[in-house]
Symmetry: C2
């Protein structure tokens, strides 16, 4: 298969198995991958959709093919996709297995990443599996439990004072190692698109998808997945995307609506506190093109959503609960529709007792 890195901004193209780029070497934009999707099956995990993805992972450790629980709530049929039941406890494993499978094929022997959250944990695990050394750079504010997990999985943990220092430090390592760059990488987008393939095969296409948006890889991936299915004639319409951000950090809201909205602190949703998503325009384009929307939520709504999700049996982290909080605010507009809600990260990894104050 002929697979290329392409830059949709300046037109740069390069065969994917020639050089590794984590951003466009000409104009600095995020890259996409050019390939021809075909409906062809492999076996397990992401390989099940072998022909629909630009590459398939070399190894399978249990990622993908997550369960879906369907519940009728407030007149809406909700498909809860349990992505927190992936090997390292989050949907990031779908992207990480593609990224590190590629790194392995390209002959890298070290992976580096700046992430104090689910991606750091996922990269630590898959580096081990793909026999790469790994260095995860985190700000000093990272919780003890997350640092412990990253080290337990075998990565070298490098602590620096701030989030900005982490980004700078990892770039200094990137010349000699595979820089995973998950907020930029198309691997995380195609990884997430496999969620759409699974939902389509098991339940058909939803009318609406509700997704938390930090750097946007999940939303871009899920939408791209449905676009691929549409381009192959498998589905006739693309679901409307409802993006969810917290009041504290709202770049997508501001870009889509043209203003900011005041509200309570949303710092519990750590995973979506991303002030400058590299693909902000692509996110806006999807929302505009398919009649989507963007909802803001705050801590007290998140805590209430966590409690209600527990009653349904879903043990997720606060960032994942934002989608259910958004559904509660938006539900009058969703009656009679089929809604996909992706529950992204496990609540078992870091225990806190959240209380509505």
């Amino acid at each position: 298969m002929d697979i290329k890195w392409i830059c949709n901004v300046c037109g740069f193209r390069d065969p994917m198995y020639k050089h590794y780029h984590w951003s466009c070497p000409i104009c600095g934009s995020p890259l996409d991958i050019e390939y021809k999707p075909v409906y062809e099956y492999g076996s397990k995990g992401l390989d099940r959709f072998r022909g629909l993805l630009p590459l398939t992972p070399l190894k399978f450790i249990g990622e993908g093919e997550t369960k879906t629980v369907v519940e009728k709530l407030d007149g809406t049929e909700i498909m809860f996709k349990l992505e927190y039941m992936n090997p390292s406890g989050s949907f990031k494993d779908r992207g990480t297995t593609l990224a590190l499978s590629y790194a392995y094929t390209m002959g890298f022997n070290e992976a580096v990443e700046d992430s104090s959250g689910n991606t750091g944990i996922s990269v630590a695990l898959y580096s081990r599996v793909y026999k790469l050394r790994s260095k995860i750079v985190v700000p000093a504010t990272t919780s003890r439990e997350k640092k412990c997990l990253i080290k337990m999985l075998g990565a070298e943990l490098i602590e620096v004072p701030t989030r900005g220092d982490a980004s700078n430090y990892v770039l200094s390592l990137a010349s000699k190692a595979f820089y995973v760059a998950h907020t930029w990488s198309p691997f995380y987008i195609y990884g997430a698109s496999s969620i759409s393939f699974e939902i389509y095969e098991d339940y058909g296409e939803p009318d609406v998808v509700i997704l938390p948006v930090g750097s946007g890889g999940l939303l871009l991936g899920v939408m791209k997945g449905f676009e691929i299915l549409n381009s192959l004639g498998k589905i006739l319409k693309i679901p409307r995307p409802i993006a969810v951000e917290g009041y504290s950090i709202q770049p997508v809201f501001k870009t889509v609506k043209g203003y900011e909205e005041k509200g309570e602190d949303s710092s519990l949703a750590e995973g979506i506190m991303v002030p400058n998503p590299p693909r902000l325009n692509e996110i806006k384009n999807y929302i505009d093109r398919y009649g989507g929307d963007i909802i803001l939520v705050g801590n007290s709504e998140i805590i209430k959503a966590l409690e209600e999700l527990l009653e349904l049996g879903f043990v997720v982290e606060p960032t994942s609960a934002t989608v259910y909080a958004a559904f509660k605010k938006y539900k009058d507009k969703l009656k009679g529709l089929k809604v996909l809600m992706v529950l992204t990260g496990s609540g078992l990894k870091i225990c806190k007792e959240y209380r509505v104050s």
Copy 2:
């Protein structure tokens, strides 16, 4: 369907939906359930094997139908069954959903349990789902993280000085509530037998199963599952069970072999530190009847096994790693065979860095 509690020791029988018994009211032995298994399918989770189980859960939150990763190691084909990817992070969820579904049907409004480990966490979660209040009684030595998870999931946590105090205290609560009694309960045995049904459908029967043994519910369930398949003519032979205990506490080893074996401390394998399993004779009978064996392991072997399992991509707790440690000691006798290894509990719940000293 006509379903009865039965006591295989004194012959006591009682319709299952008449009274709840957690042990024989006549002679105090552990009870079994009498029913007629038929090969009949339902839909998801444990309901998939509706006709093979004495009851099916009323709700589905993602338990069961766990993934299997097949690896050829040292000339043996190993089926790793990833039970740690259940909703609360352990295979106990299979038993808990049966037990609390039954409690709900019987009209109980509170569940009580003495467990500081995976069962306590599982009972806290499913109590929430089945709308029962729950009280989990734990000894003061229970780790901060486990206590936090039990409370986060919504159970009332009751701390008492010792493990013995916990058992006594929970009995004082049992007259007014559903006492889960997982070390006695046949629900946890039939829950575990669904593992065998899944393995049979997806891969056929293994030659050998390697399982950690604490109170023995997993071993009894997996073996009973294969016996049921055999009784229905689906499989011709029953796999040989290899039980695994730690050197520190070895009731099964002593009962099967007639002596104790000295070795290093095995306290990392908390989940199998059970000095008096209520069904010790049943465990011995399975090992004797099907040409099984019992292996002892210690902390340094467990830590090494944890590291090697991580390289395969499996993030498990030390108790789960005992089976791989046992395989390494026993592998010369397993060449050319198909071996099922059940990986029971998640390593994401409580982070520790284990180091070989």
